[in-house]
Symmetry: C2
Subunit: 108 residues, 2 copies
DNA sequence: AGAACATATGAAGATGTCTTCAATTATGGG
DNA sequence: CCCATAATTGAAGACATCTTCATATGTTCT
């Protein structure tokens, strides 16, 4: 069990919000989900999620800046992967709870 | 331990993104954090987080629509509370992982 | 019913976000 | 060295989001 959030000062709230923002678009969620399954170079990622390569690259920059993913060059390509297990867990938990909340929405 | 996210079709991604969007602004995070500590009427909430009543009300509508909070009228006021424990957990976990990710960011 | 309090709502403006297009940088092979 | 491939970058447009201000709705009390 996690420590309950007692309060959230404006600064912390801003930090958390910034990180969560990274998980708050379909495109980035799909990118992260793919990376959750294993490292991928940008081109393959783009193909896998059905986005333009440039769009993926822009989103990867955001995710990199926020520390959610890392890219390491390998020859011509750059292999992206989730930064660490916290990202994977956060993703799993977000999906899990979202699904449950959505269930609650339908039967009301 | 949670079920790993294997893949995320566009529709599911959109659903999850919509829910996470609700946690992706400082103002809503602070509102939710306050409610995590206990139910509150709008005015007190507004005061507690230092926002205008109208702004809080607008955000509460969003949170209500997404099923994260519920409001029950009690006399003149309407008491808001988190919808269920999934919301509380999601909030806790989001804060927890965000903090850890931010730590990883600084020492690089 | 009228006054006062609590909340919701709508419209509008400022700001932010996402994608696309075009151009640029980086790497490896012939 | 030049070409093809891989990825990044910047600018711009379309669109969404958040707050504010003004107004409306609902509730209680006298």
């Amino acid at each position: 069990m996690r420590q309950p959030v007692e309060d959230l000062d404006p600064q912390s709230a801003a930090n958390v919000a910034e990180t969560l923002q990274a998980l708050a678009t379909p495109s980035r969620l799909r990118i992260l989900a793919k990376l959750r399954a294993g490292p991928l170079p940008v081109t393959e990622l783009a193909e896998a999620v059905g986005m333009e390569q440039s769009a993926v690259s822009h989103q990867l920059r955001l995710l990199r800046t926020l520390g959610l993913v890392t890219g390491t060059r390998n020859g011509r390509s750059i292999i992206y992967r989730l930064y660490d297990n916290h990202v994977a867990q956060l993703l799993d938990e977000a999906v899990y709870h979202s699904e449950h909340l959505r269930l609650g929405l339908t039967d009301r």
